[in-house]
Amino acid sequence: MNTTATTINSATHQGTLIVAQAEAPLKTGPRVIDYNDRRTVGDITVPDPKMVCRDVNVYYGENHAIKTVSIDIGNRQVTSLIGPSGCGKSTFLRCLNRMNDTIPGCRVTGEITIDKENIYDKNLDVVQLRARVGMVFQKPNPFPKSIFENIAYGPHIHGLAANKRELGELVETCLIKAGLWEEVKDRLEEAGTGLSGGQQQRLCIARAISVNPEVILMDEPCSALDPIATARIEELMDELRENYAIVIVTHSMQQAARVSQRTAYFHLGDLIEVGDTEQIFTNPQHRLTEDYITGRFG
């Protein structure tokens, strides 16, 4: 079974480019969509979209990494991106705050808006965009500076805090929101890199929310953490959801099921299926999705 699926995929890979998503995405149908159909299944829209992506293509030189993907990112909810390694989850995530701009040879086409503003518009300042769309990376990457400076950096460069006292309060608020305050309040001057992995990742989350973003992107934020630290971060995401739109890339389907309200399944650069998390995990429409969530490949 497993091998058959893979053969079909590679055999029809060339054809998928032509099939593309020129037509309207299919509505959820009663039948299970076959392997070689690469049109997105499910409703790509949400009632209250924070970000809207339409016909997004990403190329790394010749490599077509994201193929005409359209999806809405809902406000005040967690959207999880799942799919096998190399399917383009991180690439797509990095489009949302234009981190792909920093990769030489990377080209993005299509339209992505945040509150109806095109983020790839010439007039939009990427520095400002990144203040609105924060990011947490796979490997915790605190600055090799003190815990305080780690949080204070964003507000400092954007000129958000009027004075020292306000900055101090801001740092405290962020650390409290990230659930780290109790653990570090007595050692704010110590190096952020001296914390444990889980603490470092929460520090990075605190750092990301320090500039009061509207969207938080997380690229496998727990993949380097133990289960206890992971549980803390998941708890945190649930709290943060009240105020932010969160997009998380994860390899753990349990995690996606636990923390997210919407799930998008990617396969070799195509967005295969998108929908409510519960529906995706209980009643997938596409064979590829079904195979992936039932663990038949991935």
């Binding site: 600055f143 964003g154 460069i157 954007h158 990301a208």
Partner: protein, 434 residues
């Protein structure tokens, strides 16, 4: 996995592995010995080199003096009694110590003999006496014991460098001179003291007066100019190439050429300096300014490569973190990348400076090999540098110059060691983990 198709299934693999172990261990042992032998040979060479230099060079740091009772006679120094500094500086001070010597050895009378008597004292003694009087004119009319610089042959004699058993004709000191010296010694008039003059004097034709001071100051001026040019330019170029430059054919060409420049023989930079700085721009010849410029050109590619390596070693995650927070590219570099790369850059620049300190070939091309007595007071004055001074002295036959060559090498090596140690300490100190 089917046992029929697996060829290993029929063999005793453990036995085969065990049989091969012996050979593997033997090879490992042999390799260890090759390594040890190589290191021993290298160490032996270093020890021999250092021992030779130390044995030859160390005596230079002591200097023999002859104590004479000098009568600062007014009729010689200041005949018209006006204490005019111009007159004082023009007086014949050699008459003072010559008179004192004659009084010590009244039996010496012929011109011939007197000349060999006077030869025991350095001609620099007259300057020594003049400086004393100029600094304190109240000395005139006073009689005082003064330690005068002995001639370099005398110095060598007292350091055991002259064999009394040799036939007189082959000795730098004649029989009567040795007799006089023995007498002086017996009277306690010979003294050995630390040779400060070696560090403060400029070059001289007289070995006992020749010092490393001029070359030292010349080297310092040259290196300051080299550092102040090559460090900022090198770091700025590295930052641009590594962080800002687009990836295209031009940056590729630049990169290749920087690597090529780093391999260009240093003398070529000297020729370039001669053509551009001296013949075209008419900057002063033999000056540390030009030397510094030439060495800065020579160091630039090395500095750029070292700085780029330091920038490359900063993990990309830090850059991503900064950019992800909305830092601009310049802020990312200035706030995060540069502080982390700085230790590597400093280390690289110190090593490059050590390289420049030992460089002589390009400096010969721009005339820094001239015989210069005065200690340079600015980078525009003619000067020489340590390695060139070593070369100059090494061509002279006098034993005292042979010793000074080694002493200068000791100093040069000392500076190099200090610079390299600083680089290591800096790296250890500033190294941060992330």
């Amino acid at each position: 996995m089917n046992n029929n198709t697996n060829p290993l299934a029929r063999k005793d693999t453990t036995a085969i592995v065990r049989a091969g172990l012996q050979r593997r261990y033997a090879a490992e042992k042999r390799f260890k010995w090759y390594g040890l032998t190589a290191i021993s040979i290298a160490l032996l060479a270093v020890v021999l080199l250092f021992a030779d230099i130390l044995i030859k060079g160390l005596p230079t740091f002591w200097q023999t003096d002859i104590r004479l009772e000098i009568d600062f006679a007014p009729q010689i120094i200041d005949p018209d009694g006006r204490r005019n500094p111009d007159d004082l500086s023009l007086a014949d001070y050699s008459a003072l110590w010559k008179k004192s010597l004659r009084q010590l050895f009244p039996e010496v009378e012929s011109r011939e003999e007197l000349r060999s008597l006077y030869a025991l004292i350095s001609s620099g003694s007259s300057l020594q006496l003049r400086d004393r009087v100029m600094a304190n004119p109240a000395l005139i009319g006073v009689t005082q014991n003064v330690d005068l610089l002995a001639d370099d042959t005398v110095d060598t004699f007292f350091k055991g460098g002259v064999d009394r058993e040799l036939p007189e004709a082959q000795r730098p000191l004649k029989d009567d001179q040795i007799a006089w010296l023995d007498k002086l010694k017996a009277e306690g008039k010979m003294e050995t003291r630390f040779n400060t003059g070696f560090f403060t004097n400029g070059d001289s034709r007289e070995a006992e007066q020749a010092g490393i001071g001029g070359a030292l100051v010349g080297s310092i001026f040259t290196l300051l100019i080299t550092l102040s040019l090559s460090f900022p330019i090198g770091v700025a170029a590295a930052i641009y190439l590594e962080e800002f430059a687009p990836y295209n054919r031009w940056t590729d060409i630049i990169e290749v050429n920087i690597n090529n420049l780093a391999a260009v023989p240093s003398i070529v930079f000297g020729l370039l300096g001669l053509a551009v700085f001296i013949n075209f721009m008419h900057l002063p010849r033999s000056a540390p300014l030009v030397g510094g410029l030439v060495l800065a050109l020579m160091n630039l590619p090395i500095m750029i490569i070292a700085s780029r390596a330091a920038l490359k070693s900063v993990p990309p995650s830090i850059r991503e973190a900064a950019l992800g927070m909305g830092a601009s590219k310049l802020q990312m570099v200035a706030h995060h990348v540069l502080p982390l790369a700085m230790p590597g850059m400093l280390t690289g620049s110190i090593l490059a400076m050590a390289h420049a300190l030992g460089e002589s070939a390009p400096l010969l091309m721009i005339g820094m090999i001239a015989f210069i007595v005065d200690i340079p007071t600015s980078p525009f004055k003619p000067a020489t540098v340590l390695p060139v001074q070593i070369y100059l002295w090494s061509t002279l036959p006098e034993r005292a110059f042979v010793q000074r060559t080694s002493a200068a090498i000791i100093l040069l090596l000392l500076f190099l060691a200090v610079m390299n140690a600083t680089a290591i300490i800096l790296r250890k100190r500033l190294e941060r983990r992330w």
